[in-house]
Every structure is written in structure tokens, then in C-alpha cells.
């Protein structure tokens, strides 16, 4: 499973870099969107992946069976920050040229 995830992310990165090096502003923005998604996946993946083990604690859950919540929190912050930055980047794209 890990191997597939790694390859998938690699391909996402390759796509992002390819787009990034396209030369025009739209290319760069799309490249950055793809790359930041790849970055989010990298953080999640490198923290260890678990299926069906959402980090919702009950009184009697064994923490060891749950997914690591910290990378998720980091990714969440990263998504939001990336969201803000990409939105700002788009304003640079549509600035009226005087």
C-alpha cells in the first residue's frame, strides 16, 4: 500500500513540476495547486497511514489503534494556509493592467 501511495504522490509532484515549468502565469498557478496537494499527501503519508482508524477518542479506545492525528492537524493547517495563498495568487492574476 505504501508503495502505491508513494508512487501516486511522485506522479502528482511530477505533474505539478511539469506544469510549473510551463512558463505562463496560469501554468505556474496550476503547478502550485498540484504541488501543494502533493505536499499535503506527503505529510499525511510520512506520518504513517491507517485505514478506518479516525482519531476520534472514546473512553475506552486504545490510542495505538488510531491514526496519528498530528499529521492530520498539520495538513489541515497547511491546506488552509495554502488555500489563502492560492486565493491571493489568483488576485495577482486578475489585476487590471493599467
Amino acid at each position: 500500500m505504501e508503495f502505491f501511495v508513494a508512487v501516486t504522490i511522485g506522479i502528482l509532484v511530477a505533474a505539478g513540476i511539469y506544469r510549473l515549468l510551463g512558463g505562463c502565469k496560469v501554468d505556474i498557478i496550476i503547478g502550485l495547486i498540484l504541488l501543494s496537494q502533493a505536499a499535503n499527501l506527503i505529510i499525511l503519508a510520512s506520518g504513517g497511514l491507517k485505514h478506518n482508524a479516525s482519531a476520534l477518542m472514546d473512553e475506552n479506545t486504545d490510542p495505538a489503534t488510531l491514526a496519528d492525528p498530528l499529521p492530520q492537524a498539520l495538513v489541515l493547517t497547511a491546506i488552509v494556509i495554502g488555500f489563502g495563498i492560492l486565493a491571493f495568487l489568483l488576485t495577482l492574476l486578475i489585476r487590471p493592467s493599467k
Binding site: L44, L70, V75
Partner: protein, 495 residues
């Protein structure tokens, strides 16, 4: 006042300043007041941390490394103080030199958040938190750059934004990978971990990414392509702040991470790499400056070459060199900021910063000439100004270890710096009288004069300041006090 309260002040005052300024239609006063109070707070922190004391604030009362921790040591306190100083100066200049457009477009709140990002970056003891503050800082700088009108400015902004976003992505990926491999993000914890384990090789590839991210922010050649085109487009009140802060925060991160946290002999030869990059950066930057004919451009290129000096200090990595590096950072922030501010004075006075159009300022305004001379000579490294002691300590540090290449670079780049300062002086300040000149507001002259006075003070009282830098360097090289402050006297394990 406890250091913890002061840390909170340094973090929240800019927020309060920004919010208040927003409610007052972007008025400058809240930003200025917030800047002045946080400057005062950081001065107290400098006093409190002198002698190698370290104080930690465990945010949310969660013990480290489980929560985020804010730490102030000598290095952080010194950086806080000088950055706030330049911020205040830059706000004063902005009020007098920038059009209403800037105020309408939230310049002052953005200046506050820029300061917030810087303060956060200095204070944090957590890798991911550092990323967050970097983003605060960067996005503020993006937004401020976006206010500047003009086609060239737009192009420059775009380039600046894109390259810096790449750096942020690298940082983010590296932080994620490092967490994945170590399970912690806390600086003190990371340091402790790698002292105990042989597995340092695990994070070397990710620390290379981190190195790249910080290298871009610090503008090391070949990662500096964003700088020379973007800074000259900014009005001096802004470029002073950017020049003083942005690359230096990249350097601060390099010092903090590669000088304190990831210190081991591993496969990623960051020290050797940094050594040669630093020398290339010094040479490239100064040669770039020699080719320019505009004060803004010359000074922008000098940022790069000076960054090289500070990176070289880190690469040499001896107690003397690190002290020199810390002192250099402190000196450089004040001097570089002031040089851009003086460029603003020259532009206001003579109408341009183009060396072909400006001449004879020493006759029309000896005060501006003197205000230029102090930071320029300090940058070039003439005694008894601060820049001399910074370079001298670095030279001593490199000769002590028989790093001949470093010594040659330090000296020759210093000479080329003199060469280009000489060029500015003999073109813009010497010569016939200018036909039309504009007297500059007294408050601006006083502001720039205050920074010049700090430069002189840093030089004359360099015994004191070098000792502070020495303490700061000592905390970096032997972070036991840092670790004690963050993790407590006994290293906590699982609760």
C-alpha cells in the same frame, strides 16, 4: 515583568496593532505604537536573556514537546529588538513618503502582521510553527508588494511570490517528512533525539530540502533569483524593512536549525555546501552590485553579498565565527535598513536614486550625506563602526581555523563593497550643486539619524554587544540551557 509576559507582548501587540489599525481605516498610529512597545519589550528581553538565560513559554500550558513552545534566548531577543527597531523606523518613513494609496490598501495592518511573522519566527521552538510564522511573514510581504503600482513592480512581485511559494512548499514537505521520521517537531526534542541516536541519516534528505527552503529565503546564490529584481521596485520605506528582515529571517532559521538543531556529521554535508555557497554568494552579490548604476539596485545586490558573510559564519561553525555571525546579523539589519531609508531621503531630496541623475548632495544637504556615510562605511566594514567588528571577528574566526579561502573572500568582498559604496558617494554625493532640491522632513532625518546612532553605538560599545552575541552563540552551540528551559530539568518521556 516576567519574560513570558514579554513574549506574549511581542506576539500579540502586532495583532492588536493590525486589528486596531483596520478599525481606524488603516491609520498608522496603532502600528507605530505597537512597534514601539514591542521594541521596548524586546529590549527588556535582551537584558533578561543576557548571560545565556533561556526562557520558554509553553503555549496552552501543554508541556513540551506536546504543545507548541515559544522560547526566547539571547539570539532571539537580539533579533527581535533590531527587527522591531527597523520596523518602527520604516513605519515612520512610510507615513511621510508613501501616498494615500498605501494607507487605503492596508499598508499599516500589513506592516504589523509582517512584524508578527518575524517575531513569531524568532520566538518559536517548533518546526511547524516556524512554517506558520514564515507564511504570515511572507504573505504580508506579498500583499505589501502587491500595493506597489507599475508594470515592472507587478512582474517583480510575481517572480518574488512564485519563488517564495516554492520555498514554502519545500519547507512544508520537509517539516512533514521530519515529523514522520522523528515523531516530534520541537527543536529541543529534535536536538536531544539526534544526540542519542545514530540514525541521523534518516532525516538528511529532508534536511536538505529544509536547507533549500531556507536558502531561498536567505537568498543564497543560486537560490537568490527573486531578490535583485524585486527589491529595487519597492519604495524605500518598504524595501528598508524587507531588506532588513526577510533574508535575515531565512538566515535566522538556518542558524537555528543548522546551527543548533541538526548538528551532526552526516551524509548531507550542509557545512561544506554552505561554505562554498556562502563564498559564491558573497562574490556574486558584490559583483552584481558593482555593475549597477542605481542606489536601490546597488543596495539590493549588497543584501545578497552580505547574506553570504553571515552564511559563511555559520559554515565555519566555531564559537568565534558563530558569535561573529550573530553580531553580523544584528549589525546588518540596522545598517541595511538605514541605507534604504537614506535612499528614500536621497530620492525625496534629489528626485531620483539614479546615479546618473543625482549629484552634489554633500553640498546641498550635508546631513543626508552624513546619514549615508555612517551606514555605508559600516557596511563596507570600516572601524570603528559595527560592520568592522562583524567582519573582523569573522576574519579572525576563519584564520583561526586556517580557512584561507574564507579569509580571502571576506577581504576581497569587503574591498569590492568599498568600491561600490565609493561609486555611490562619488557620483551622488560629490559633484556640482544640484539645480533643484527638496528639504526633507526633520522627523525622517531624525529617524535615520537614530539608526545611524545605533550603528555607531554597536561599534563603540561593541565590547558589550559582542558579549551578547557571544552568549547567544554559546546558547546555539551548547543548547543545554535551551533544552532545559523547554523540556524541563528532567527530560519527560511518555506521561
Amino acid at each position: 515583568m516576567t519574560p513570558q509576559i514579554l513574549i506574549i507582548a511581542c506576539l500579540l501587540l502586532p495583532v492588536v496593532g493590525a486589528v486596531t489599525s483596520m478599525t481606524m481605516r488603516g491609520h498608522y498610529a496603532p502600528a507605530l505604537v505597537a512597534g514601539i512597545i514591542s521594541f521596548a519589550a524586546s529590549i527588556i528581553l535582551v537584558v533578561q536573556t543576557a548571560g545565556g538565560h533561556v526562557f520558554a513559554l509553553h503555549v496552552g500550558n501543554w508541556p513540551a514537546p506536546y504543545g507548541v513552545v515559544l522560547v526566547v534566548d539571547g539570539f532571539a531577543a537580539l533579533m527581535l529588538a533590531v527587527c522591531q527597531l527597523v520596523l518602527v523606523a520604516s513605519i515612520i518613513f512610510a507615513t511621510k513618503t508613501l501616498s494615500a494609496r498605501f494607507r487605503r490598501r492596508h499598508l499599516y495592518p500589513l506592516l504589523c502582521t509582517l512584524g508578527l511573522g518575524a517575531n513569531g519566527a524568532f520566538l518559536t521552538g517548533d518546526l511547524f510553527n516556524l512554517y506558520v510564522w514564515f507564511e504570515v511573514l511572507l504573505l504580508s510581504s506579498f500583499a505589501i508588494m502587491a500595493i506597489v503600482p507599475g508594470k515592472e513592480a507587478r512582474k517583480a512581485t510575481w517572480r518574488y511570490v512564485v519563488i517564495n511559494l516554492i520555498a514554502s512548499l519545500l519547507f512544508l514537505i520537509a517539516a512533514g517528512l521530519i515529523y514522520g521520521k522523528t515523531g516530534t517537531l520541537n527543536f529541543a526534542d529534535l536536538h536531544r533525539l539526534f544526540q542519542k541516536t545514530e540514525k541521523s541519516f534518516l532525516i538528511e534528505s529532508s534536511s536538505a530540502l529544509l536547507f533549500g527552503a531556507f536558502g531561498i529565503k536567505a537568498a543564497l546564490i543560486p537560490l537568490a533569483f527573486w531578490l535583485p529584481r524585486s527589491y529595487p521596485q519597492l519604495p524605500p520605506a518598504i524595501s528598508a524593512l524587507f531588506a532588513a528582515l526577510l533574508t535575515k529571517i531565512g538566515l535566522y532559521a538556518l542558524y537555528r536549525i543548522f546551527g543548533m538543531v541538526f548538528v551532526f556529521d552526516g551524509a548531507f554535508p550542509h557545512q561544506q555546501l554552505l561554505f562554498w555557497l556562502a563564498i559564491i554568494t558573497m562574490m556574486g552579490g558584490v559583483l552584481g552590485a558593482v555593475a549597477q548604476n542605481d542606489m536601490r539596485r546597488i543596495l539590493s545586490f549588497h543584501i545578497i553579498s552580505q547574506v553570504g558573510y553571515m552564511a559563511l559564519a555559520l559554515a565555519i561553525y566555531s564559537p568565534l565565527a558563530i558569535s561573529a555571525g550573530v553580531f553580523y546579523l544584528i549589525h546588518h539589519i540596522v545598517v541595511k535598513g538605514n541605507l534604504f531609508l537614506v535612499t528614500g531621503l536621497v530620492e525625496g531630496h534629489a528626485g531620483s536614486s539614479d546615479l546618473k541623475k543625482v549629484y552634489g548632495i554633500v553640498r546641498s544637504s550635508p546631513i543626508i550625506a552624513a546619514l549615508f556615510a555612517v551606514p555605508a562605511l559600516s557596511l563596507a566594514g570600516l572601524p570603528p563602526l559595527s560592520g568592522f567588528f562583524a567582519k573582523f571577528a569573522l576574519l579572525k574566526g576563519s584564520l583561526e581555523l586556517h580557512q584561507w579561502a574564507a579569509a580571502v573572500a571576506i577581504i576581497s568582498v569587503g574591498l569590492l563593497t568599498i568600491f561600490s559604496m565609493l561609486k555611490i558617494w562619488s557620483a551622488a554625493f560629490w559633484g556640482d550643486d544640484l539645480p533643484e532640491t527638496e528639504p526633507q522632513p526633520k522627523v525622517l532625518l531624525a529617524t535615520s539619524g537614530a539608526l545611524a546612532a545605533v550603528t555607531i553605538l554597536l561599534g563603540l560599545a561593541s565590547g558589550l554587544f559582542f558579549r551578547l552575541a557571544n552568549d547567544a552563540a554559546h546558547t546555539l552551540l551548547d543548547p543545554s540551557a535551551y533544552i532545559r528551559a523547554v523540556l524541563g530539568p528532567t527530560n519527560p518521556t511518555l506521561p
